[in-house]
């Protein structure tokens, strides 16, 4: 594992974590080169970067740049200035502390909580990723919308890890269904006990000799400190009667592997929730991204696969996840737009507070 060293840094009016204030843009002059080194390119990338003028956060998303991109490294494609191929950010445009959401509109909403005196950077990628980097109470933070699914989370974690120096903290703020009698629509759940994955075993359906329709993984832990901060701040900003904890279940489908009944497909999932609860009684939420975040956070910087390996400190990631309960999968209720908006504002604030307050 190559050691990453910061070779040069420069900023003005610096607060903690290198945030420059009272300037027209967030500036980073570090000469660190991501791994692998950036290749020389001939034309700009198809991502657009917008450094918003005051007021700090505009409600208008960055327009898309139609200039064709060019990349030359088939192994880990990077643009001429070091932009990643899918998320589209380069060194200096993503903070070490990140809140990640699915919906770009949610990212914009949370960004309204950011400090008004630091102009955020916005990067909208052609592949649907939106990064907003600014400051919260003087600490540099990014809010990144990633879309849906474990593959989208995989792109995100790997491509931000490639362009950020040093230890990272990442909080997922998503939506989910509840599979617990005690956790109701319109409340928040923190995956304090970590997450498992449930994935479709394709061979059961279109192959031969497979005996199980779904594969249930072992548990991966969430970071204890970040999770505890999330619970504390959600209690404070959303309300102490509205915060639960437990084990998250991350599925590779909104339908089959979340035990939804889609009568057009023979999904063999009638017993799936019972199987999950038999093995993991504390499973409380069902969604599609948290496991991959926690899993890759545990893998980042490890010298070898497996939990016993040591971790390169400069590549370490602490991760935690909290989700709004959108659907009651036992009773059938679905959240109202008013409940969503209220939760996004208050829980978004709580996530920012947890992100900057965790030692």
């Amino acid at each position: 594992m190559q050691k990453i060293t910061r070779t040069t840094t420069s900023s003005s009016s610096t607060l903690k974590d290198g945030v420059s204030t009272q300037t027209t843009h967030v500036e980073t002059t570090t000469t660190f080169k991501p791994i692998p080194a950036t290749k020389t390119q001939e034309s700009p990338l198809g991502s657009s970067v917008k450094e918003t003028k005051q007021p700090a956060v505009s409600s208008v998303p960055a327009s898309k740049n139609k200039t064709p991109m060019k990349f030359t490294d088939a192994n880990f494609p990077l643009g001429e200035d070091g932009r990643t191929y899918h998320v589209g950010t380069k060194l200096g445009e993503t903070a070490n502390k990140i809140i990640t959401v699915g919906d770009p509109a949610r990212a914009e909403l949370i960004a309204k909580h950011l400090d008004a005196d630091v102009v955020p950077i916005k990067v909208q990628s052609k592949r649907g990723y939106l990064t907003i980097t600014g400051a919260y109470k003087g600490t540099r933070v990014s809010i990144v919308a990633i879309g849906m699914g474990m593959s989208m989370m995989d792109f995100f974690v790997r491509e931000v890890r490639a362009v950020v120096e040093g230890p990272m903290d990442i909080i997922r703020f998503g939506s989910c269904g509840s599979i617990s009698d005690h956790i109701k629509v319109g409340t928040m759940a923190v995956a304090s006990e970590g997450s498992i994955s449930v994935t479709r075993n394709f061979d059961f359906f279109t192959g031969a000799d497979a005996t199980e329709p779904y594969l249930i993984s072992q548990r991966v832990e969430a970071d204890a400190d970040l999770s505890a901060s999330l619970v504390q701040k959600l209690n404070e900003f959303v309300g102490s009667g509205k915060v639960s904890t437990g084990l998250n279940v991350t599925a590779d489908s909104f339908y089959c592997s979340q035990a939804r009944k889609d009568v057009r497909f023979p999904d063999a999932n009638s017993d799936l929730l019972a199987s999950v609860h038999a093995r993991y009684p504390s499973a409380v939420t069902l969604e599609m991204e948290s496991f991959m975040l926690l899993h890759l956070a545990k893998c980042s910087g490890r010298t070898a696969p497996g939990n016993g390996a040591t971790v390169e400190p400069e590549l370490s990631i602490r991760a935690a996840a909290t989700t709004m309960i959108f659907a009651d999968r036992l009773g059938g209720a679905f959240i109202t737009p008013e409940q969503v908006e209220e939760l996004e504002v208050s829980a978004g604030k709580a996530c920012l507070e947890a992100l900057v307050s965790t030692a």
Copy 2:
């Protein structure tokens, strides 16, 4: 399996497949109810529908509607007018014949080939899906951009199957890396031999007792007729020296399960391509969506899991996949923007030709 019956249809100036021409919009008055039946809702969905004025295809994407959505069925959420939750279309807005791509810009480019005398419907969903429905040489077709990853393909197939009546044909037109010495950047590959999946075995990395870092599935077939049409039309429109056939490999990551070296993560994938080729010598392309399309096409309407089950004809899906070679994973070359644009135009035309000409 509930039988789906068309109860009422009405259209004017009808060509084959129910396309109305010389009108200001594509009209469908069928009273078919998707399964499950639409629930009564109180406010409109957060998707926007744009029926473009002449010229038939505008280069301006539909703007996003900020009106909050409301859904009440936690099992299979549908909007008040039957719109699906993620793809955002309702009955009548998606054709039985579909080309699906990843990049929304590619969908817009292909839509320029559509008949000028039929005004297309455009639906842009909040979750990144773009549907353009019009006609090609008098046959009704849709072009749907779905983003990236098998989960995004799963949303797409299930949600269009829920709002389209009768048999469907779906062609994926994507991008990929080549793992064959004979298939070069800037050419086309057709997955005539079908597809396998390669997925990360999470327990190998963050669990215990797992012996294999990646799970390799059994093969799922592509539709032979659609694949043959694709080969024929690509030879005609792209060039006969530029079309190869073989087995596709669909991975759940752009990085680890495609055997890319990401030095920040211990991915244990040095032998992965060799393992794939040992089991499947005809594997030629690597990407992230085709397997899920072919797999779900084989599952749709089956009376039970497994290849021996019968299929409900009204729910049947024929599917095939072709991909542009963007990366040479053996030699390291990457496609130029000029090559991409040329291929998207000519191969997009070939896909439309194959879609409407396959009996």
